[in-house]
Symmetry: C2
Subunit: 151 residues, 2 copies
């Protein structure tokens, strides 16, 4: 429950920006504050709409770019797969995904232990469940190598 913004949050944010060499701008603070009070999984558009009330001059691009920056900083995350082109999954057997967050590749894997995961009663009450899958995200070896060689 992180609905009240505390001074601590802001200090932490400022330090984090500094550690990444980023400037503290009013826009970034506004976006960060909006992020703190957001529930759900807002799109850049949604954040933009909410911020516009109090900061009428902010541009959508700034919001979008800033959110991307925050994701780089690890302050927030991008919901798996969203924002990419639609991909189809041909494999109809029970399987799981590892996704490289750098190159976007998705690899299937099989792992007995994930196949009969129990589903919380609470979920069954609120959803008619069709599918359950484990999604692992990381950086694949070849992306790892290429980022080393780029430095």
């Amino acid at each position: 429950m992180k609905k009240s913004i505390e001074k601590n949050d802001l200090d932490e944010f400022i330090n984090k920006c500094k550690s990444f060499g980023l400037k503290i701008t009013p826009q970034r603070i506004a976006i960060y504050q909006e992020v703190l009070v957001s529930s759900n999984h807002p799109s850049a558009e949604a954040i933009y709409r909410n911020i516009k009330d109090t900061h009428p001059n902010i541009s959508f691009d700034t919001v979008n770019r800033t959110l991307l920056t925050f994701a780089d900083m690890g302050l927030i995350q991008i919901v798996e797969g969203s924002g990419d082109a639609r991909r189809f999954d041909i494999n109809t057997e029970q399987h799981h995904h590892v996704r490289c967050t750098k190159c976007g590749s998705i690899t299937d894997f099989y792992w007995e232990k994930y196949n009969n995961l129990e589903i919380p009663e609470e979920i069954h009450e609120k959803f008619s469940v069709n599918k359950i899958r484990v999604v692992i995200e990381g950086i694949c070896n070849s992306c790892q190598l290429s980022s080393i060689s780029n430095e």
Copy 2:
């Protein structure tokens, strides 16, 4: 390992089409065959490129629409979240997602049992893992209700 197309596959496909009242067209067969030999998680664009060699007259739209139709039929699936606008995940605690495939809402949930899932050695060898999450897909209650009232 489904790399060789067998007559069975095609018969099964034809029956499935019939059961959905869909016509068997050369395009649908070509797309289905391409799907069968696809590994990875192709985009409509990728399928289109591969098919174009043997079916130069096929249009991208047909490929895209047909893949969507196949997904409706349950023949293939859409990779979770792909094709949607980018969404941000504000919640940095370990949590999991239930997604309604109808309205696109994503709801966080917490479930102790999912929090320390073992990761296969094979994955650790090939990826530097950042995140693991369980994603459940289904239809939420309010979508369920609205689809009943629409009939």
